[in-house]
């Protein structure tokens, strides 16, 4: 010690400056401490102020680390950087970061890690320098990732297991075409722990941004630890700007330094929305957590892909084939075809005997199934030759879904009114469309008219729709009241305003349709598009009319229960319901609270 003092006494300020100047990185210093410098010369600042404040002279040397590792240096009062350059190097004082924790996690992390109980040294941590520095950084309004990256470099890499944080990455994925990734795993930690995920560039995503869910398996494995730890140990962390094969690592800070907890390479996630959803649905969660996860984690990822898909679809070539001639139609009847085309003839036998349909409307079939194109070409000719009812066939290249197909049909429609009709809806007799048109024309407060639809057995399929809250799942669903009853038991026997009506058969004016920009194509596969359209109209001040005096037959589709059937289709319903709710919960709640006033 004394020797050092003696030597330093011989050193002039000038010599110290020149030794430091050789290794001083002015560019780095200016960039890092730009605000503090305020125009001063970086080297001057470092020598006079910076070194005492712990400002680093270059990217590779940390003043704080050096002083922490070698407390004797701080006692000397010598500039630590100079100390290192002039003495420390020769004395073998190692400033290089310790090697990263290479310990591999066992295949069964729960069993393995469960054997370590968490030491309660939280107090030590909260009083540690690292914690204070990290908190200062994180809580600072001017926090930047760059600052964090810079600071973390100075923190010692600790190879021992973290004393009270356990974590494991179960999977990490990123879509092939897109930068949004998702990390799935669990972290057992107290709320004040500092835990983050790093990509290969060292960019951190903090655990505070994770969506936390309860994990019963982890809870049971670490039962005794959970009196200090957050109960929801499961983590779903959206990670931005990563690429496939990139390694993601979870780190946690302790009083001793940075601990590497778990790493995983990001896998490919199919960017086809339905395939992506299929994978996402494999992430286990409690039913009550599902809607939150769907809204906050899945939808941002899916929306990106659905929007991308829609942009591709919009550029697809469209073919149109006209059978027979139509002049100045008043109503365009738009019928998407998917899966089956034999329904066409079932409808045609009704259309052919309806003079209003034949003289005032144009029929537009939208082929929404590439496998039907060839079959339909043959059938269309046969049907036209037999019935001589004019129609148009539009094919948009790919499957566009219910909304996309209907929108495509509307693009090729010339009527002032649009009737959207499912291919499995069949008129019972002629004269069904005129009363619908009449109801729409004479009730300007209505934006859409839908008839009563009956099952093949004659019982009610559609008598208007209402929104019903499923508190077990936390979503509003579209409920069909009075379904299955004899129509004479329907409490509505005349035109009635309803919160929503079915899209299986609805009449809307071209003007209103355009005003709400048509059918929303943001849902996955299809659900809720009809109520979405109704709510868009409602937002513009137009209600939905249910016209029970007009009855058509609607054949039954496969139905899906919302509980007890954990299949893909059920989850899609909940997924779409969560989007529907995100868009419309205010309006729906208003409808539920004061139904008669709101619509």
């Amino acid at each position: 010690m004394l020797k050092i003092f003696e030597k330093s006494n011989k050193l002039t300020e000038e010599k110290i400056r020149s030794i430091i100047a050789k290794d001083f990185d002015a560019g780095f210093y200016r960039q890092e401490y730009e605000l503090v410098l305020n125009g001063q010369d970086p080297l001057e600042h470092f020598l006079k102020v910076g070194s005492n404040e712990g400002f680093d002279p270059c990217g590779w040397f940390s003043i704080d680390d050096y002083l922490l590792d070698f407390p004797d240096v701080s006692e000397t009062g010598v500039n630590p950087f100079f100390h290192y350059l002039y003495y420390g190097r020769k004395e073998g004082r190692d400033i290089k970061p310790s090697k990263r924790n290479k310990a591999t996690l066992s295949d069964n992390p729960l069993v393995d890690l469960a054997s370590h109980t968490i030491d309660d040294d939280a107090d030590t941590f909260y009083h540690s320098l690292y914690y204070k520095e990290a908190r200062n950084l994180l809580d600072n309004e001017s926090f930047t990732v760059e600052r964090w990256k810079k600071w973390i470099k100075k923190v010692k890499q600790e190879s021992a297991p973290h004393p009270n944080v356990k974590a494991y990455i179960e999977s990490a994925v990123v879509s092939e075409r897109g930068s949004s990734g998702l990390l799935v795993g669990w972290v057992v930690s107290s709320p004040d722990s500092i835990v983050w995920i790093e990509d290969e560039e060292g960019t951190p995503t903090f655990l505070t941004q994770a969506h936390r869910i309860f994990r019963e398996d982890v809870y049971k494995a670490f039962l005794t630890s959970f009196d200090k730890a957050e109960i929801n140990s499961g983590c779903l962390v959206p990670v931005k700007n990563i690429s496939p094969k990139e390694t993601l690592t979870i780190y946690a800070l302790s009083s001793k330094g940075v601990h590497r907890l778990s790493s995983a390479e990001a896998g490919y996630l199919d960017s086809q929305p339905a395939e992506m959803a299929k994978w996402l649905f494999t992430i286990e969660s409690k039913p009550s957590d599902q809607v939150d996860i769907f809204r906050h984690i899945f939808w941002p990822m899916l929306s990106e892909q659905i929007a991308r898909n829609n942009r591709v679809i919009a550029r697809m070539p469209v073919s149109v084939e006209q059978y027979g001639e139509v002049q100045d139609p008043l109503i365009s009847i738009i019928i998407p075809l998917y899966g089956r085309i034999d329904f066409i003839e079932g409808q045609m036998v009704s259309f052919v005997s309806d003079e209003f349909i034949k003289s005032q409307t144009e029929i537009i079939y939208v082929v929404d199934d590439p496998t039907l194109v060839e079959k339909l070409r043959t059938l269309a000719k046969e049907i036209y030759d037999l019935y001589k009812v004019s129609f148009k066939v539009v094919f948009g290249g790919v499957n566009r879904g219910f909304s996309g197909a209907n929108n495509l049909g509307a693009e090729h429609a010339s009527g002032a009114y649009l009737l959207f009709m499912n291919s499995d809806v069949f008129p019972k007799s002629a004269g069904w469309l005129e009363p619908m048109l009449e109801a729409l024309k004479t009730n300007p407060e209505l934006g859409v008219i839908a008839p009563r639809l009956l099952f093949a057995d004659g019982s009610i399929q559609h008598a208007g729709m209402v929104f019903q809250y499923r508190s077990d799942i936390g979503i509003w669903i579209n409920h069909h009241p009075h379904m299955g009853l004899d129509p004479i038991l329907d409490p509505h026997q005349a035109l009635t305003k309803m919160p929503a009506v079915t899209g299986a058969c609805m009449l809307i004016s071209r003007e209103d349709f355009d005003a709400v920009e048509g059918w929303d194509t943001g849902y996955l596969i299809g659900d809720f598009e009809d109520s979405d359209l109704c709510l868009k109209l409602l937002e513009k001040g137009k209600g939905c009319g249910y016209l029970p005096s007009v009855e058509l037959t609607h054949l039954e589709r496969q139905s899906f229960g919302l509980t007890g059937t954990p299949d893909f289709r059920t989850k899609v319903v909940i997924l779409n319901a969560s989007r529907h709710m995100t868009r419309w919960s205010d309006l729906i709640e208003k409808l539920a609270a004061k139904p008669e006033a709101a619509y």
Binding site: G458, H479, L485, D486, T563
Partner: protein
């Protein structure tokens, strides 16, 4: 005010031909024809091949099907809970029944009782009990689980736990507590037999709230006796119904095998039974093995299943009907049908069978589950036409559908009067 009656059954005879659903459906039809009834409907649980969706569909005028199921067989809770407060509620609100006459809750769940009362506490609920489901978790059979099909006479939490080790005695207390709370909402109970009535009184139903009304039968002339050829005796016996281990078909076959071959030659047994193929492999094999030997000898004819409208024709060509069940039964429909046809019965001497068939008056009892006793009785009866004539003349004609409906209306009217 005239009654508006909704009959609820766990099955529709269009799809399922159990005694309870047939009885329920016949009552529904009888209600519809009665001048004091404004309207009546039939709601039956059905499996339409797509599982319990919770949805309701119209079957035909005034008839509905409900795709419901059981989600919890211990507490008998419905699978589609959501359906109770939506479509089922819509139906009750739309039909506005004054009386709900339920015949079961199996396959539908017991909650609908509470739901009906919540919709309108004025709706009066009556329940015809066809089995012992509330008393016994073992399919309402009151037969112990495990080997031997031992009969059980009353519920006890500890004994139920022994039958179902996975459920504690306390679980059985909870089960009864839960079921009973729903039964408390029911105004009156109807039992087709005194035997079943007593079991439920023992279990906890107030005896003033439960009466016996026998199931109604079709109103037809008694069939003439089977014409006998010269020297022929009343030696044709027949079994009608499901073929399952509780129905004692194996007891019947063993009874035949317990006789000497020479003795067997004196009689013929016909099996008019269905659903053997749905039973366990072991039971099927046992029955088939015994049957094949007897069929070869000619003393057994395996006639197979029949439609309800074929039954009387089949009864015309036999003399006796055998009901050899090894469980208590309630009021087996086949006993009443045999009485309609004028055919004396040979039945197990337990439960509903012993009650409905009077030994030496309109039939003969044998020791339940005892093939030797049954064998001797078959042999003796087959050679004695005089006994047959006496027993036939002792048969009293069962009540018909209309009389049965009237008894119900009287029960309800009386209750209302008391209120």
């Amino acid at each position: 005010m005239k009654n508006r009656i909704l009959v609820i059954s766990h099955g529709h005879p269009d799809f399922s031909l159990g005694g309870a659903e047939i009885a329920a459906y016949n009552l529904f039809n009888a209600y519809q024809q009665h001048p004091d009834v404004e309207d009546s409907w039939f709601l039956a649980r059905a499996d339409r091949g797509r599982g319990a969706t919770g949805q309701i569909r119209k079957r035909r005028e005034n008839e509905y099907l409900w795709e419901q199921g059981i989600g919890d067989w211990h507490l008998l809770k419905a699978e589609q809970q959501q359906s109770l407060t939506t479509w089922f509620t819509d139906l009750i609100q739309a039909l506005k029944p004054t009386i709900v006459h339920m015949h079961h809750y199996a396959h539908m769940g017991i909650e609908f009782i509470r739901v009906i009362k919540q919709i309108n506490p004025e709706i009066r609920i009556f329940f015809t009990i066809h089995e012992y489901m509330a008393i016994c978790k073992h399919n309402g059979q009151m037969v112990k689980t495990g080997e031997g099909h031992k009969l059980c006479s009353s519920e006890s939490y500890d004994e139920c736990h022994q039958c179902y080790p996975q459920h504690t005695a306390e679980d059985f207390w909870l089960r009864k507590h839960y079921i009973k709370s729903h039964f408390d909402l029911i105004e009156g109970f109807i039992s087709p037999s005194e035997f079943l009535r007593q079991r439920y009184i023992q279990w906890g139903i107030d005896e003033s709230k439960i009466i016996v009304i026998e199931n109604g039968q079709q109103d037809i002339e008694t069939l003439p006796p089977r014409e006998l050829a010269d020297g022929e005796t009343r030696n044709r016996f027949a079994y009608f119904g499901q073929v399952n281990p509780y129905k004692g078909i194996d007891v019947l076959l063993q009874a035949l095998l317990s006789l000497k071959k020479k003795q067997r030659k004196k009689l013929v047994v016909e099996i008019h039974g269905a659903n053997l193929e749905q039973q366990t492999g072991e039971f099927q094999e046992k029955v088939k093995e015994m049957a094949s030997k007897l069929i070869e000898e000619g003393c057994l004819r395996w006639v197979g299943p029949y439609r309800p409208d074929e039954q009387m024709k089949r009864m015309q060509s036999i003399d006796w009907v055998i009901v050899p069940s090894i469980w208590w039964e309630n009021s087996p429909m086949v006993i009443q049908e045999a009485f309609v046809a004028g055919r004396p019965l040979i039945v197990s001497d337990i439960g509903g069978m012993a009650e409905k068939v009077r030994d030496g008056v309109d039939g003969v009892h044998f020791s339940a589950g005892n093939p030797v006793d049954l064998g001797i009785k078959l042999l003796n009866l087959s050679g004695n036409s005089e006994v047959w004539d006496n027993l036939r003349s002792g048969i009293e004609k069962p009540i018909n559908y209309q009389e049965c409906a009237l008894k119900h209306l009287f029960f309800w009217g009386l209750k209302r009067y008391e209120c």
